[in-house]
């Protein structure tokens, strides 16, 4: 199994898509296999990063070593302030994706 660091991009609304949990489940599985993994939320996927959102607890992901980031532009578009984010989730610029591509990470947009 690959151990290449992996960036997963999740753009799906966790409340509107039955597939919304796929990226989180894959991130957790990769982290448990000791693969460095970052989960980057964009578009409506950032709705699930709000504190109190009823999605798979971000604390479990962060506790397993998954780095959780939410696109700052997508947050701003939806009026979500960084202080409203769940524990373990940080706002980040889209530059993260370019940085990981340049660093040779696997980058997968689900």
């Amino acid at each position: 199994m690959t151990t290449t660091p992996t960036l997963l991009i999740d753009s799906r609304d966790p409340f509107a898509s039955a597939d919304g949990g796929f990226a989180r489940e894959l991130a957790l599985a990769l982290a448990r296999a000791d693969v460095p993994v970052t989960l980057f939320y964009v578009h409506n996927a950032v709705l699930g990063t709000r504190r109190g959102a009823k999605v798979k607890p971000h604390a479990e992901l962060a506790g397993s070593g998954v780095t959780l980031l939410a696109d700052a532009f997508s947050l701003a578009e939806r009026g979500i302030d960084a202080q409203q984010l769940a524990a373990g989730v940080a706002a980040a610029p889209l530059d993260v994706v370019i940085d990981k591509l340049l660093a040779g990470w696997h980058v997968i947009w689900h």
């Binding site: 578009h43 889209l94 994706v97 370019i98 591509l101 340049l102 040779g104 990470w105 947009w109």
Partner: protein
Amino acid sequence: MTTTRPSLNFVLMDAPLESARTTTAFRLLDIAARRGIPIKVFAYEGAVMLPYARQQPHANAVHGTSVEEENHFLPRTAVAALMETAQRQGGQLDWVNCGLCVDERGAGEPIAGVRRGSPVDFWQQATASLNTLVIATRD
């Protein structure tokens, strides 16, 4: 000695004006262009319409607004601007449209700088690049 910066390769699939994925794709291309990173794009399916040269702004009679007031966003102008930014920053944006996808859509009049290709071009782009990001169509 001349050194060549490694390029990044992107695959786009969504048609213009339909998906937030394309907006974010343009944002990613803009970041790379501003850094002077050589960029390769392979446009599949509806994405071949992004640089279509015949895109035109229009007025809106229902709203009573003129062409200038509507100030429509035209994807072809964004593609051209990305090419200009890349070049200005010492990079390059090499955009290849899937030829069969172009024929299916009658999209054979792209803006300058766009070339026609096949999946072979995508393979060559991918093998020549440091990394590839596929931005696939999702409903």
